[in-house]
């Protein structure tokens, strides 16, 4: 097991390297002089030259990449052009709201989606099933920002159940913290819920037709343990796989959700950086998001052994 994890961690190196190359080229393949692009439209030629020197843009491309990568491996994601501060510091300052949003969304989404999927599979073909699957199709096709604005309009502005926007740190209490996370989590999680509910239903339908489910019923096992202990555990591997893959959906959604709900997180940092062409921030965040995605999916792979004793690494 330990050896497997080590092997898998080593296997992520080439993946991250490819990501790094792409992120690096992001700046250098933009049409025109990267220094001029970075400096913006109103820059003087002196400012452009300064930026060029600052970023080592006079050097050959491979050397630039080498230096950049070397600094990356030391944890140096570069400096923001706008803020003049290390990118890593900027990200860490804004990490709490984003991590809070991501964790609450994943937790509630998985619980709700799996419950809906199990219910739909158990009631397959009935009205309940059709309603849940209809919701899943809808949830997957409505964009995050639309859901976000509708939620704000209905629950924050009209009904005044929750605050409209913003973020309250966890340090100020769980209640206020959670209160402001409810709507963004729903907006962010809707597509994720839809995705997981669908795969849960499909996987459960397959398992419920298995002989061992009938064996359990022949033993006198009641419906609930039949669905969970006997069926869901068998259906789990495809479900956790999608939970992991779906994190990509969340990463894209976080950027939009934080903007719609005015949450000062990493997603907002990225949006602002894009508007300001603050390339080091964009590059740094893409790298961090990619690393998170790769690690989450590594965890997912390891979790298989927990669900299925036949899988051994």
């Amino acid at each position: 097991m330990g050896a497997y994890i080590a092997r898998r961690l080593i296997a992520t190196i080439p993946v991250m390297l490819v990501v790094a190359v792409c992120v690096f080229l992001l700046l250098h393949l933009t049409p025109g002089d990267p220094a001029a692009v970075l400096a913006g439209d109103n820059a003087t030629s002196d400012q452009v030259a300064q930026i060029r020197a600052q970023l080592g843009l006079d050097e050959p491309l491979w050397r630039q990449f080498g230096m950049w990568l070397w600094r990356l491996m030391q944890g140096d994601l570069g400096e923001s052009l706008f803020w003049g501060k290390p990118v890593l510091d900027l990200v860490l300052e804004r990490a709490e709201p984003t991590i809070s949003l991501a964790l609450t969304t994943i937790t509630f989404a998985v619980i709700i989606a799996v419950s809906l999927g199990v219910l739909a599979a158990w009631q397959a073909g009935t009205l309940v099933d059709r309603l849940i699957m209809g919701f899943a199709v809808l949830g997957f096709s409505v964009p995050v920002f639309v859901v976000g604005y509708v939620l704000i309009f209905v629950f924050a502005i009209n009904l005044r159940w929750v605050p409209v926007q913003g973020y309250t740190p966890l340090a100020e209490g769980v209640g206020p913290w959670l209160e402001r996370l409810v709507l963004p989590s729903i907006a962010l999680g809707l597509a994720y819920v839809a995705l997981i509910a669908r795969i849960t239903r499909a996987s459960m339908l397959e398992v419920l037709a298995e002989d061992y489910v009938r064996t359990a019923q022949a033993k006198g096992v009641a419906t609930r343990p039949m669905l969970t202990r006997h069926a869901l555990k068998n259906a789990a591997v495809p479900i956790v796989t999608v939970v992991g893959i779906g994190v990509a959906l969340l990463i894209g959604g976080v950027v939009i959700t934080e903007t719609v709900f005015n949450i000062p997180g990493v997603g907002r940092l990225v949006v602002d950086a894009i508007q300001r062409r603050d390339y080091p921030i964009i590059q740094g965040c893409i790298l961090i998001f990619s690393a998170v995605y790769v690690l989450v999916n590594l965890l997912v792979d390891i979790s298989y052994t927990f669900f299925d004793p036949r899988i051994r690494y």
Partner: protein
């Protein structure tokens, strides 16, 4: 010929533990209604071993599943008849009360040992579950009982193996586990649906022997379903022959083998596999195929394959009637030779 209703003639000394009467189970599929079980009646006496035999697709499994009400949801439905267990009607029992009977008073063993055990739960937990449900035992007590049951079905190192998963067992061993699970709550009736069909010939004999020994020890009745009359000859006291969702013949085992009345039974007998001929090969299959149960059957269902079918056979369905004492057959020409 003595036209007696089947349930009247089995009014023997002991009260039957199971009484199935005019059971009808249909499947409602996209391409029509399959009359999988179409008016089946029989009884099982306490401690008795009743064999149910017939070719694949004749409704044996559906009969068994109907008794425990384990038909695939929304697809298969019991549309008529009655199933009484220890005098109690099961078909109208609330689901919760039905669950108290399943795995407790009536247990079932399935055909496929490779797929009938849950791959992600330990053997011990799967056996212990029934004990916990029906006897309110704690997990540790139930696991002890599970180990005891594994010893009883002669699994070596039983104490250690309770923590193993199904994939760590061979097919024969898994069927032993299934037997252990089924007998863990000392059921009064054990329904074994082709328990050895999926196993190697050598293992088949061991499993059958084990099952009947344990049945002797616990005094439970057994409903043994098989497509192999050879198995019936070695194990059962009474036998029911099914064809196309109906009972076509019923008799004591010796009587049936001595004087089979139904041409279908004679066909089955001609095709009993005999050990010693190299592979366990069918000698003479009955020519033709089983009828499509989605289409209405006019006359005798076996007529298209029957060597002595007459015009009457094709027009009128033969009733199940007593031709000799305790020996019933549904055939217009019962006992006649081709």
């Amino acid at each position: 010929m003595n036209l007696v209703e089947p349930e009247m003639q089995v009014a023997t000394a002991v009260k039957p533990i199971l009484e199935v009467e005019d059971l009808r189970t249909h499947f409602f599929t996209r391409d029509g209604v399959t009359r999988a079980v179409d008016g089946v009646s029989f009884t099982v006496a306490p401690g008795e071993t009743l064999g149910i035999v017939g070719e694949s697709g004749c409704g044996k499994s559906v009969t068994a599943l109907s008794i425990l009400r384990l038909l695939p949801a929304r697809l298969g439905r019991i549309v008529g008849g009655s199933v009484r267990f220890e005098g109690q009607e099961l078909l109208s029992l609330p689901e919760g009360r039905m669950r108290d009977i399943r795995g407790n008073r009536v247990a079932m063993i399935f055909q496929e040992p490779m797929t009938s055990l849950n791959p992600v739960l330990t053997i011990g937990d799967q056996i212990a579950e029934a004990v916990m449900i029906h006897q309110g035992a704690s997990r540790s007590d139930a696991l002890r009982r599970a180990a005891e049951m594994l010893r009883l079905v002669r699994i070596p190192d039983a104490e250690k193996r309770v923590g193993d998963y199904p994939h760590q067992f061979s097919g024969g061993m898994r069927q032993r586990v299934m037997i252990a699970m089924a007998l863990s709550c000392s059921p009064r009736l054990l329904i074994a649906d082709e328990p050895t069909t999926a196993l190697d010939v050598t293992v088949q004999a061991q499993i059958l022997k084990l099952m009947l020994e344990l049945k002797q020890a616990t005094g439970s009745a057994v409903m043994l379903i098989t497509h192999d009359l050879g198995v019936i000859a070695e194990t059962c006291q009474r036998v029911i022959v099914m064809y196309a969702g109906r009972v076509v013949e019923q008799a004591e085992v010796l009587e049936l083998f001595d004087a089979p009345l139904h041409p279908y039974t004679r066909g089955l007998m001609a095709s009993i596999p005999r050990i010693g001929l190299g592979r366990r090969k069918r000698l003479a299959e009955i020519p033709g195929i089983v009828p499509d149960l989605r289409k209405p059957i006019v006359g005798c269902a076996f007529a298209p394959r029957c060597p002595i079918a007459s015009a009457r056979c094709r027009a009128e369905p033969p009733p199940l009637a007593e031709h000799r004492p305790g020996h019933l057959a549904a055939c217009w020409h019962a006992g006649e030779m081709p």
